[in-house]
């Protein structure tokens, strides 16, 4: 039915099967859209947020998708700026994932603000001192860059490519992609960083507050670094999911192992910085404000030291060791374990830097504030996931996302 649109030589499931799959995911999408409509029409009273918990599930989702979408800017940087040519076989996937993640982040922000129609004030009345202003500018600009990076792939669709104008446009855009990749990496460094900075500059919140370099707290650098380190883990996780579902090899092992190795070294170096930061914060910064390390991990029913151990050890040191050591990362099961743990690890870090920050009491007579999201919050958080599944499925079906697919599945 749609065979004329499918990349040449690629095998795809029959259209009715594909359509049924998309329809099922669309139901979830519509559930999210309904909840989003409720939030826009009735307001944020649809959520379980309150004045003690003004940042909640959405902001975590926002930070998490941006972190895992970091594979796009980092893979693009490696491929186009550092000239690691082999990564051209996975950069398309990284770009599609990045596009989905960043568009999702913008959507979440549009739902999250109390006055969505005034969202443009952040650009018009920009406060240069606010990390959130930096986030807004860099995020929007980088989303534009990602769109530019995505367009040549769309133009490679079999039908579109037959139109000479689009063919030439796509070809020329490919030629200038290094400039956009470099611009994207620059912007990404700042918006990933400023998301970390958002937490680090809050000197009224000792759990989040960090000292730093010039105007940037250490969390600024840690967020950029962790996104670059763990982002490729998510790209590889999605790749493995694709390969599992389609039962096809889509990218050569050499490419996967190369990206996994780079990710492993990045995670390892990040962890050294993260551990130093944690020790300095726990022994110098927090005590200077009258807090003991254990004040942040006790006297409540949920947040304990376990969360730090899982983040740093289980989802940090373990994947780093697996990915750095050649024999481990070439073991497919260990590789899968490492990339999944890595993805969870960076999401957990963002959780801690948003939700735990809100939960910790600051005034001596205050109590821990714990919260559980409403169904509307859960539905609107699932919405981008459903949207992502649909978009990436369409991209896989109709666009040559994996240049090695034909060669690897010749028979």
């Amino acid at each position: 039915m749609d065979s004329a649109l499918i990349p040449e030589g690629a095998k795809r499931c029959p259209f009715p099967v594909f359509a049924i799959g998309i329809a099922i995911v669309s139901v979830v999408l519509l559930w999210g859209v309904y909840a989003m409509g409720l939030c826009w029409l009735k307001g944020l009273n649809q959520t379980n947020m309150d004045d003690y918990y003004p940042f909640a599930l959405w902001i975590w989702a926002d930070l998490a998708v941006i972190a895992v979408g970091g594979g796009a800017f980092f893979t693009g940087l490696l491929r186009y700026v550092f000239g690691i040519d082999e990564l051209k076989n996975i950069v398309n996937l990284a770009v599609v994932i990045g596009f989905i993640c960043y568009s999702s982040a913008l959507l979440i922000l549009a739902i999250d603000i109390g006055q969505p129609l005034r969202g443009w004030f952040i650009f018009w009345h920009a406060n240069v001192h606010s990390m959130l202003t930096e986030v807004a500018f860099c995020l929007s600009l980088y989303f534009s860059v990602l769109t530019i990076e995505f367009i040549p792939l769309i133009l490679e669709n079999r039908k579109i490519d037959k139109v000479p104008f689009f063919h030439n446009l796509g070809h020329n855009m490919h030629g200038t992609m290094a400039i956009f990749a470099a611009t994207g990496a620059f912007l990404s460094c700042f918006h990933q960083g400023s998301l970390g900075g958002m937490a680090g500059v809050m000197f009224g919140r000792p759990f989040a507050f960090r000292e730093g370099l010039l105007i940037w707290p250490w969390t600024f650098f840690l967020f950029t670094w962790s996104a670059a380190a763990y982002g490729p883990c998510f790209t590889l996780t999605i790749l493995k999911m694709f390969e599992g579902i389609t039962k096809k090899k889509l990218v050569k092992d050499s490419v996967v192992h190369l990206l996994a190795k780079i990710s492993g070294w990045m995670i390892l170096t990040y962890l050294i910085a993260k551990i130093i930061d944690t020790i300095y914060w726990a022994t110098v910064t927090a005590p200077s404000q009258g807090f003991r390390f254990m004040d942040f991990y006790s006297n409540n029913s949920f947040y304990g030291v376990w969360i730090l151990i899982i983040e740093v050890v289980v989802c940090g040191i373990v994947p780093a060791i697996i990915l750095v050591k050649k024999s481990y990362r070439e073991n497919s099961r260990l590789l899968l374990l490492a990339i999944v743990l890595g993805t969870i690890g960076v999401c957990l870090n963002r959780w801690v830097m948003v939700l735990q920050v809100m939960a910790v009491p600051v005034m001596s007579f205050d109590t821990w504030a714990l919260y559980f999201p409403s169904w509307q919050e859960i539905a609107t958080t699932v919405l981008p996931v459903a949207y992502g599944v649909i978009l990436i499925s369409l991209a896989y079906r109709y666009l040559p996302v994996f240049p090695q697919e034909k060669e690897l599945n010749a028979d």
Binding site: G43, D50, F55, I113, Q115, I122, L132, G290
Partner: protein, 268 residues
């Protein structure tokens, strides 16, 4: 503002007066306190001692009107607001909130350690007929924006206008010309309001703010909430009770004793 915690009885008059003066809406069901708007909130503190040593203290908490680290005006909330919807007034020391500028990102609320900022989760509603009693000097806020105590800024504006009409110096308004609603409502006289920089005003005489230490109180019985965070609030508390003063901040083991001893030595 100076609040004498030993005088406060926890009656809540300040909260009611504040809500009435500033057109603060309320919900039909106020059981869920964490999304109720209370610009002035009275906390109940206890010394956690068993009978007969049990003691409690009521602590009214308005916006602290922080001037931030180094008094540069970068209050925790001001520096983070992405749209300059909240700003620090160097002329008054009051942190403003522009409701029509705020787009409800709530970053300021996340940054405020005092929970002094409130979000309008609901459309503002009053029981039928009660709209007639709203103050014409204060604009009601719409759903989806943040609001907070303004130290009854409209009263300051009225005081300036009065001074202008009476051909007095607008910059030097009299102490009694500008008083907040909570100050006037407190039946115990626990709240005192005035110009901290003016040695003739009672607030200055009560806490003796040190201009060389960003306004830190020189009165050993006075303190500011979370002084160690360097938010530099303009609300001071006074109490004769040591445990109350200690509750104003967080201390590691032994720190409070050291601080107390040094403070006592300094005043010998």
């Amino acid at each position: 503002m100076v609040i004498d915690l030993d005088k406060c009885t926890g009656c809540g008059s300040c909260m009611v007066a504040c809500m009435s003066e500033n057109n603060v809406p309320f919900k039909e069901d106020e059981t869920r306190k964490k999304d109720s708007i209370t610009w002035m909130r009275v906390y109940k503190l206890t010394n956690h001692q068993p009978f007969p040593d049990t003691d409690i203290c009521y602590m009214p908490r308005p916006c602290m009107q922080c001037s931030g680290i180094g008094e540069h005006g970068h209050a925790p909330c001001v520096s983070v607001c992405p749209a300059v919807a909240t700003d620090y007034g160097f002329d008054t020391g009051i942190v403003s909130q522009i409701y029509t500028r705020c787009f409800g990102c709530r970053y300021c609320m996340a940054a405020c350690p005092y929970h002094a900022r409130y979000f309008n989760w609901w459309d503002p509603k009053w029981p039928e007929g009660m709209e007639n009693y709203l103050s014409p000097d204060v604009s009601p806020r719409m759903r989806g924006v943040v609001e907070k105590c303004s130290f009854c800024y409209h009263r300051y504006q009225l005081a300036r206008e009065r001074a202008y009409v009476e051909e007095r110096d607008e910059e030097a308004i009299e102490e009694q010309d500008y008083q907040t609603a909570c100050t006037q409502a407190c039946p115990a006289g626990a709240i005192t309001f005035g110009d901290l920089n003016n040695p003739d005003h009672a607030v200055n005489q009560m806490v003796k703010p040190d201009p060389n230490a960003f306004g830190k109180p020189r009165n050993p019985k006075a303190f500011r909430l979370l002084e160690r965070l360097q938010t530099n609030p303009k609300v001071y508390y006074i109490s004769e009770r040591e445990w109350v003063r200690k509750a104003g901040d967080n201390y590691l083991d032994g720190e409070w004793e050291n601080l107390k001893n040094n403070h006592d030595k300094g005043h010998e």
